[in-house]
Point group: C2
Chain length 201, copies 2
């Protein structure tokens, strides 16, 4: 978890990434209320001024952190899907199962998500970023449901349904880990997929 010490003078991309990682760590540890420029800078081992140098402000840093987390999640998902082989149903199962396992079901990730959500209501550009990322997520689900033979006129509601189930389970799994297990969440989500499948002929 601890990052390797970064040389005093780092390449912009490396430093940028280290600031994003530090922001995610602070959000997870302190919560959104305790996340400030100075705390993040200390966490990253740099001076506070450097954050202003790389980002317009702290909200831009949170937005960038959210985008980064989103990309991490997406990559982990695709790895799980690729490992499941070529059967469309097996790939869809792997997709939802991965949603409840590390590194996706993680308190640190949730903290970033929540901090980002808290900006959606007040800032239009953040709201659009959320719309875009969520649309891409549902589009991916739609693709996989289509490959499983779900009828085209049912695709829209089916993807919304599956996204809602997975999100609801993921959220509660992170917020109240003692309530039910990741295994149970997987069972529920796969049963949900069953009920969305076209009837066998």
């Amino acid at each position: 978890m601890t990052t390797a010490p970064i040389p005093r003078r780092a390449e912009p991309d490396v430093r940028r990434q280290s600031l994003i990682a530090a922001c995610a760590r602070v959000l997870a540890r302190e919560g959104a209320a305790g996340t400030s420029v100075r705390v993040i800078a200390r966490e990253a081992g740099v001076s506070p001024g450097l954050i202003t140098h790389y980002f317009t402000g702290i909200e831009a840093l949170i937005a960038a952190t959210y985008a980064d987390v989103d990309q991490t999640v997406r990559a982990a998902m695709e790895v799980a899907v690729a490992a499941a082989g070529t059967d469309p149903r097996a790939r869809l199962d792997a997709f939802v199962t991965a949603s409840f396992a590390p590194p996706i079901a993680d308190r640190a990730l949730l903290a970033t998500w929540i901090a980002f959500w808290s900006l959606v209501s007040a800032r239009a550009d953040i709201a659009r970023q959320h719309d875009d990322q969520y649309a891409a997520y549902r589009a991916r689900l739609t693709e996989m449901l289509d490959a499983c033979g779900v009828a085209p006129d049912r695709l829209r509601l089916a993807s919304i349904t599956l996204a809602a189930v997975v999100d609801g389970l993921w959220l509660e799994l992170c917020l109240s880990p003692g309530c039910f297990s990741a295994q149970e969440a997987g069972v529920i989500a796969r049963a949900q997929i069953d009920s969305l499948m076209p009837p066998p002929k």
Copy 2:
């Protein structure tokens, strides 16, 4: 939405409630980042010191606001259920349908929810309050599923499933209102209930 002007000296319960309402309004308008003691006080038309007089701190006020919102939601739910008559399935349908209509599906409510969630990771007492309130919510769902004849050994997963679907739909409906409609959410949730029902004999 605007509250009637409160007499300079109010009964403690009335004043307390007006501070909670002001906190909810500020959370909805400014987001969690812009919610401070002074802003809430100005919104409520009182001096900043009064908030310290009624609450231990701003986090206690947010926790109280969350508890109040939870109670409002619960009351609205029960009204909808009672209006649905005595048929268990009709009552359950009314329960989930009400989740996607005002005053439950509301941006102001969501803002309070998110602000509260952002405190869960960092504060143990807040985490327990969340656990308790969510357990009560699922217990109510379990009751209604039981009344519909769901087998006892399926009750646990069934209630978790339905709670996840409703939560996921509610969350996305509030965050991205343009993505799908409340009517569509209702259709999805009722279809979910269908698939949880015991097979007709």
